[in-house]
Symmetry: C2
Subunit: 284 residues, 2 copies
């Protein structure tokens, strides 16, 4: 397995991954490459890395696995730097929340002596940064690994083994399927939660009363609306087509309910609520 792992970007996911590797695979050496010097100190204190540097070339020179854990918009420029310095047969993964466009672009850039595989750990919080990183968010989390016609079997097997040993659940699929399904269970919920928060925001004359009335239901339904808006912008931009598709499907469902309420078809409304509840209960 991998002996030297370098993580570029030490935010919530990068930091949590580093801490997880150090906790679960004590033989492995983890080097962190954040943007700011202060982050190195914090990451060392949290045992998320064993060594830190701001210099990508220096930080990846011994790596046999490089994890790019930066925001989506920075992945391509960083990948370009990485491939000109990584040693032969190094495996490179990213952890971006959308995959189709990224995997397509990075595979086209990747030279044949290196192996790129797209990756997405299904874990998170609505907060960001090394401050909130903790390896437990990865416990039993599904980790998507993308597979295309260009994927190295050997690298995919090694990553599958690594993520199993980390106590996560590796799951291989095509980038397009990832974006469609994650569009429905992650990006769409963000859009809805944000719009719900926006609807209540517009009732501004009642802000104090609303804050008194909003209990656990509103808090949970809108939790993801507190996510980083830059993340939101990135997923909307890089998963535009699939997101518009699931959004339309959702709007049809909601309009169907709206029509039944207008027609006072309460038996129909109850039937829909019951079916949706049964499905949701079956997932958890």
């Amino acid at each position: 397995l991998f002996k030297n792992i370098s993580i570029i970007g030490l935010g919530l996911i990068g930091g949590s991954l580093g801490q997880r590797i150090i906790t679960k695979l004590p033989g492995t050496k983890v080097t962190g490459i954040p943007r700011r010097k202060a982050t190195i100190k914090q990451a060392l204190a949290k045992k998320a890395i064993q060594k830190g540097t701001l210099d990508i070339k220096e930080g990846i020179k011994n790596a046999d696995l490089i994890i790019i854990a930066t925001p989506i918009q920075s992945i391509v420029p960083i990948f370009k730097k990485v491939i000109s310095h990584a040693k032969k047969d190094t495996v490179i993964i990213d952890v971006g929340s959308t995959k189709t466009a990224l995997v397509h672009n990075l595979e086209a850039l990747c030279p044949s002596h290196l192996h790129f595989i797209g990756c997405h750990p299904m874990a998170g919080k609505e907060t960001k940064g090394i401050e909130v990183a903790e390896h437990k968010i990865l416990d039993k989390a599904t980790v998507v690994l993308t597979k295309t016609g260009n994927t190295s079997k050997k690298a995919l097997n090694a990553l599958t083994l690594l993520f199993s040993k980390l106590g996560t659940k590796p799951l291989t699929m095509k980038p397009q399927l990832h974006d469609y399904l994650v569009g429905a269970v992650s990006h769409l919920p963000y859009l809805l939660a944000s719009s719900l928060a926006g609807t209540v925001k517009d009732m501004k004359n009642h802000k104090k009363t609303l804050s008194q009335l909003a209990s656990s239901g509103f808090r949970d339904t809108t939790r993801v609306a507190s996510s980083d808006p830059d993340w939101g912008k990135d997923i909307v931009e890089t998963n535009r087509e699939q997101l518009l598709l699931v959004l339309e499907q959702y709007q049809k469902n909601l309009e169907n309910l709206q029509k039944m309420i207008k027609k006072r078809n309460y038996a129909g409304v109850k039937k829909v609520f019951t079916q949706n509840k049964l499905f949701r209960d079956s997932l958890y």
Copy 2:
């Protein structure tokens, strides 16, 4: 304050209220009147009541406060029974999730020697029944008390004192305002969460993969979709007008986002996400 409190309906809210009264006001006597005999045993074991009976007349004969904690659809028939047996000056409250129609109907039925006030404790779970009742869900919870031209000041003051002593936060408002605001922060979230669960349900060919990809974001955003469909039907039916109003406001917000995504106006999208996040963060 009230010496003898009778609670009709010992579900999540009725049972939790009984337990809360016994915990916080040891001098008070709590009688429970559920529908099934088995519930009396469970409620006694949980210290949610001190005495139980299936007979409403018997159960309320000494009460100076009667709490009707049944599903919305049963409140009017139970209220009719209650008013023909309650002693003079008894205060009667319900705990239904919608108020305008109910308060209107119950005030019209209420004889002048009794005092009715609509009430809604903003606490809950997605599960129901005496099994899950626990007084801690009421801790610091807002409890709405409705005020109309017919409201007895004395009864309202007594209830305000009671709910303060119970460690909840009484909040007086008109039934119409309650339904509009609660429509936005409770009923609308239920509709959205249910429709989101329904959208993912329709992708049934991928059910196994979806259940692996759905992480904490989807779980939290759809939590309230697991609520009792009968409750859902009741709120849709009894808060139809206000719910349709806030639903339309929400749809406009969502369509606004959809248009910006179609036009690739990502700066606009980010601005909306940021404003909604700031508002949501300001509530919690």
